[in-house]
Amino acid sequence: MLKVNIARFLPQLKKKNKKVETRGKGLILFSETSEAIRAESILKKAGFDIKMVAPPYHLRKGCDLSIEFNIMEQLAVERILKKLGNPPLDIVPITEKMLEPVNILRETDYGKWIMIRTANMKLTFDKETKIIVNISGGGCPDVPYLANEMIGKKLEEAPSPRELGYTVCAYALNVSFENAKKWIER
C-alpha cells in the first residue's frame, strides 16, 4: 500500500530550509562543488561548527555549494584545508543572509520497497534485502553515473554519493542515502 510519511522526520522539519543570521560568519568558496563536499568532511572531522549553504547570487557560477563558518576561525580553517590538499578558492565575510539546503525528507512506502526523497533526489530500496533498486530525480551529470554504481547493491555496500559525486544533486542524493541507511537500522 502506498503511504507517504513525512511525520517520521518531524525533528528535521524544525531545521527546515531558511535564511539565517550571518553576524560573525564567513563563507568558504571553492572552485568545484566536489571540493566543498570534501572540505565539509575535513572540517566536521576536525570539530568545526560549519554549515553547507548556497553562495550569494553574485558569487554563483552554476552548480555550487559553499561552507558557512565562524570567521574567527579563519586561519585554522585555511590551515587544515591547505594541509589536507583541499585549499579554498577564497574566504569572505558574509554580508547577506544565506540559503540553507533543504533538510526535509519524504518517505514513500510501496510495501516491499521504500523511497526516501531529499529535495529533487529519490532513492528506493527493498526493505528486506536492503538492495537499492532505483534512483530518480536530479539533473546533474553525476546522477546517472551514481545510479549505475549504486543500483543493485546493498545499502551498506553501495558507494557513497559523497565519495563519488561532484554536484549539489549528488550531495542531496547522499542525504537520502544516509537516511536510508538509518531507516534499516531502526
Binding site: 530550509n17 551529470p141 559525486g165
Partner: protein
Amino acid sequence: MLLLIGTLPIEGLKLHTGEATLDNGKLKIGDKRFAVIRGTPAMMAACCAICNAYNLDNPYCIVAGDIGAGDGSSSIYNYLKDNLYLLEPEVCAFHYIKPVLVAHNKVVDAINKMNKKPILIADAGYMYVAKMAGFASFYDIFTPDLGELAFLADKESPHPFYTRGFIFHMEDKAEELIEMAYKEKNAPKVLCVKGKKDYISKDGKIVKIITKPDIPVLEAIGGTGDTITGMVAAFTYKGLSLENASIISAKLNRIAGKLTNPTPATQIVDIIERIPLSIEKF
C-alpha cells in the same frame, strides 16, 4: 532537424555526434551504441521511439561523457557556442548538462544569432541553469517534477536543493507553484510538470491535468521524467503545439508505464520498449 543534447555517464567519452536510432534495445548514435539507462539516454531513446512510430526524421544527437566533473558538459557548451547556427535545428532539447552560468549564456548568445530561433526544450541540469541565469522565459518548454517546480517557483533558489522550506511544503499545491513560477518569470511558455498528477500550463494558465492511468510507482523509477522530455521533443518536431505535445507525451508515458506492470524496481528501458504499444492503446 530535431536536435537532442546531453551528457552520458561514461568517463572519458569525447564529444560525439550523429543521428540516433534504437538498435536492439540500445541507443545507437552515429557509429556508437549506448545502454538505455536513466538520464540523457532515456530521453533520446524515448524520442527515437516516437520518431520511428510516426516516420519522422531520426533525431540528431550531441553527447559527451561526464560523470559530474563537468568536462563533457564543457565540451558540449563549447560545441554549441560555435556550431549551433550551422546545424539550424527546428527543435532543440537540452538535458543532463552541468549548470554553468557563463557557458549557458554564451549558448543563449549563439541562439540569438541564428536566422530562426528553434523551439527550445529544457530539462534536468540545463533547466536549472536556464532558471538560475534568469533566462527561463527564453525557452519554450520546461519539464520539471514537483521538486523542480518548487525550485522554479522560488525566486531565490539557485538549485532544487536550496528551495526554501515554506515553498517545499507547497508541493501538494502545484497550481499555486505554477502561478508563482510564471509570476517570477521563472517559467517558459509551457510547463509540463511531471508527478502524481501531470500539469500542463501555457503562459501561466493550466490547460490540462492528467491523472490517468494512475501509476504511483513511476515516481521511483529513474528516467520516467526523461522519457516525457524526449517524447515532447519528438511531438513538437512533428508539428504539434507545445501544449498538445506535452499532453500526449504525459499520457503516453503513463500508458507505457502501465503496460510494463511496474514495481519500484522496474528499469526505464522496459518502459521505453512499450512506447510503441502505448501509442496503439492511446
